[in-house]
């Protein structure tokens, strides 16, 4: 599909058109933080942000999500019968999503929607009703390592459109039919714009200073990795808090609970995390991941071995670097992967 051009002074118009049928969200600066906000126009859009502190996974997999409701009355003919919660009532557009985050959702599609038997309606519904317009990264952070994990600063996977910031205008790469419909009114890009975007892509890729290697991890058997002595050291500083998993765009574990208050009941799912001992605690009292070392190992093994084995080599990490920046005790995924690969 041919590339288009969107002048920044035409963004208001573009967003207004999108808003006719969808709610539009984008990263915007609020105080010291860059967070996802609903936007009415171009005002407040941040073109210099590195990335949002929290990933946008909440849009598809909310931290707390009501799945069903029921009447908490055993003797009532209507009681204790689960009623499906209404699905997303209106479409959404997520503007300026970084390529690493968009790629993360493509990885999660493979997990939430695998086949007829493994078809998460809550995830699928939101994915189907959302248009993702990415914003290529021109200035990667020192903690970014996307190009080592099947991603990159101008990566296009998981998006319908990709914007490349050329200063006063955006080059718009049209990637899907949904994206084509949304950008139908935009003028085509000139050869010079294409050349400039290609230049920015090469510069951004070259600017990624941190790299990890996965060759040996891929070649090693699961149990060889599992039994590496390095795990004895890696976990020592870990607090077993869930920060890394909560800020991660690909972490997706959850817990489902029924909550009742008087006559009202709801089935709700909440983010859960492998760092928590409770996550794997069995009703019998046995805990297969009873020690901190087991839990820390799980996070890295899941991302860099179990997911690749199960999902045709796809990796459960997109190199966004949030866990590196946010970990209170500086457990650095790049170092852990290097040790797994050494």
């Amino acid at each position: 599909m041919a590339d288009k051009i969107l002048a920044k002074d035409k963004l208001d118009e573009f967003i207004a058109k999108l808003r006719e049928e969808a709610d539009v969200y984008a990263p915007a600066r609020v105080g010291a933080k860059t967070t996802w906000q609903e936007v009415n126009g171009a005002e407040g859009l941040d073109w210099d942000f590195t990335n949002t502190e929290m990933s946008p996974k909440d849009f598809f997999f909310p931290q707390t999500e009501c799945m069903m409701r029921f009447k908490n009355a055993k003797d009532d003919p209507e009681g204790m019968i689960m009623k499906a919660e209404e699905l997303l009532p209106r479409s959404r557009v997520l503007l300026n999503m970084r390529p690493c985050d968009a790629k993360a959702f493509q990885v999660l599609d493979m997990i939430f929607v695998q086949d007829e038997m493994t078809d998460d309606v809550y995830w699928r519904d939101k994915r189907e009703k959302t248009l993702v317009a990415g914003l290529a990264c021109n200035e990667p952070c020192p903690t970014c390592f996307c190009s080592s994990v099947n991603c990159g600063p101008h990566h296009q996977v998981g998006m319908d459109l990709l914007f490349v910031d050329l200063g006063d205008k955006l080059l718009v790469k049209v990637l899907t039919e949904k994206g084509e419909a949304a950008s139908a009114d935009l003028p085509p890009a000139a050869a010079a714009d294409e050349a400039k975007a290609a230049e920015l892509k090469a510069a951004a890729e070259a600017a990624i200073s941190s790299k990890v290697s996965l060759d040996k991890i891929n070649a090693r058997e699961v149990l060889d990795l599992y039994n590496l002595p390095m795990w004895d050291k890696v976990h020592e500083a870990c607090l077993n808090c869930g920060t890394c998993t909560f800020v991660c765009p690909t972490c997706h574990c959850f817990d489902i609970q029924d909550e009742v208050q008087g006559q009202e009941g709801r089935r709700v799912r909440n983010w859960d995390y492998c760092m928590s001992w409770l996550f794997t605690m069995h009703g019998t009292g046995h805990n297969p991941r009873g020690k901190k070392k087991d839990r820390v190992r799980q996070r890295f093994m899941h991302k860099f071995k179990y997911i690749p084995v199960k999902r045709d080599g796809e990796i459960g990490c997109v190199g966004c670097g949030r866990c590196i920046q946010m970990c209170p005790v500086n457990i650095d995924v790049r170092q852990v992967v290097d040790q797994m690969n050494s």
Binding site: T64, V268, D332
Partner: protein, 316 residues
């Protein structure tokens, strides 16, 4: 800072070489700016990795509980007070512990530095005396270290270790100079409904990762109340009531035990100032009960003792 680093390494190497301890708990340089890592050195070579800087923000006393080895720990004032607290609560064995005391000049708040720098990515931070040199792509800023101290370090009353086996340098002035009572004062000036709205606002961004709890040396229960399932004391959702219940109960559990070390705030990925709760409790315990936690191993913690003259205004 460099002198403290050298002395810590020297002490650690000696203790390890002599076999006095199996492990030295300290900090090593982090891989990103303004994050040093808690580090367990088990050999003389590893002891060479130990560092001391303005970014040793984790409370190492947190790593002492349920540890079987003979352990040495690098401890500034607040950490030493938490060691005292753990001794009072029978969580550690003093005979198996060596304390390498560090007179502290206060730690710097990473979030304050980032706020000051604005919407720019920090590549490196160097300490040069009282200045921090913050570097990124196309910029270099020199900032005054004292203006960026963590709030609790600014009001710290006990910078020197209260308990130690050896010290790495001469004691420093004990009080940091800030007014500790002012930290809690804003709550007292507010009407109840304003307190509630201020409280709600303060904790609105919480993602319940529990980094505050997990960074805290007071939180050593085998099963935390938020993880209890029979009964479930606290809901698991992001609903306001569940988030607020967690923070209120966490703060109450710290009453009369919290040393105001600031590890909770430093660990929070969302920049939540949970000391708005604990500092009020700290002040009440200090002023109403005349008790400062973590000062005396032999003292009975204030919430563990009943005296007929304890203030009972709350039930009048």
């Amino acid at each position: 800072m460099q002198q403290r680093t050298e002395k810590i390494r020297e002490a650690a190497k000696r203790l390890l070489a002599e076999g006095a301890v199996d492990v030295v708990l300290g900090y090593r340089a982090g891989t990103v700016p303004m994050r040093e890592q808690p580090f367990a050195a088990r050999s003389v070579e590893e002891a060479d990795e130990l560092v001391w800087s303005s970014f040793c923000c984790n409370n190492l006393a947190n790593f002492l509980v349920r540890r079987d080895e003979k352990t040495a720990i690098v401890a500034q004032g607040c950490v030493s007070r938490n060691i005292v607290g753990l001794l009072q609560e029978n969580q550690i064995d003093r005979k198996r512990l060596k304390i390498i005391g560090v007179p502290c000049l206060g730690m710097v708040s990473r979030s304050k530095v980032l706020d000051k720098i604005g919407n720019k990515t920090v590549f490196a931070v160097e300490e040069q005396g009282e200045e921090l040199v913050v570097k990124g792509k196309g910029f270099e800023e020199r900032l005054n270290r004292k203006e960026l101290l963590r709030d609790n370090c600014f009001t710290c009353q006990h910078r020197n270790p209260v308990i130690s086996d050896e010290m790495v340098c001469e004691p420093v002035q004990d009080a940091a100079g800030g007014d500790i009572d002012k930290m809690a004062a804003p709550w007292e000036a507010l009407a109840p409904e304003e307190r509630w709205s201020t409280f709600k606002e303060a904790f609105a961004d919480c993602i319940r990762c529990y980094a505050c709890r997990d960074a805290c040396p007071l939180c050593y229960c085998h099963v935390c109340f938020v993880d209890e399932s029979k009964p479930q004391w606290c809901g698991k959702t992001q609903d306001e009531a569940d988030v607020q219940t967690f923070h209120i109960l966490r703060a109450f559990h710290c009453a009369g035990r919290c040393t105001d070390c600031g590890a909770c705030e430093s660990a929070c990925p969302m920049g939540i100032k949970m000391r708005v709760l604990t500092s009020k409790i700290e002040k009440d315990v200090r002023q109403m009960y005349g008790y400062t936690p973590g000062m005396d191993e032999k003292a009975t913690p204030t919430m563990s003792v009943y005296r007929p003259n304890d203030p009972q205004d709350f039930i009048k």
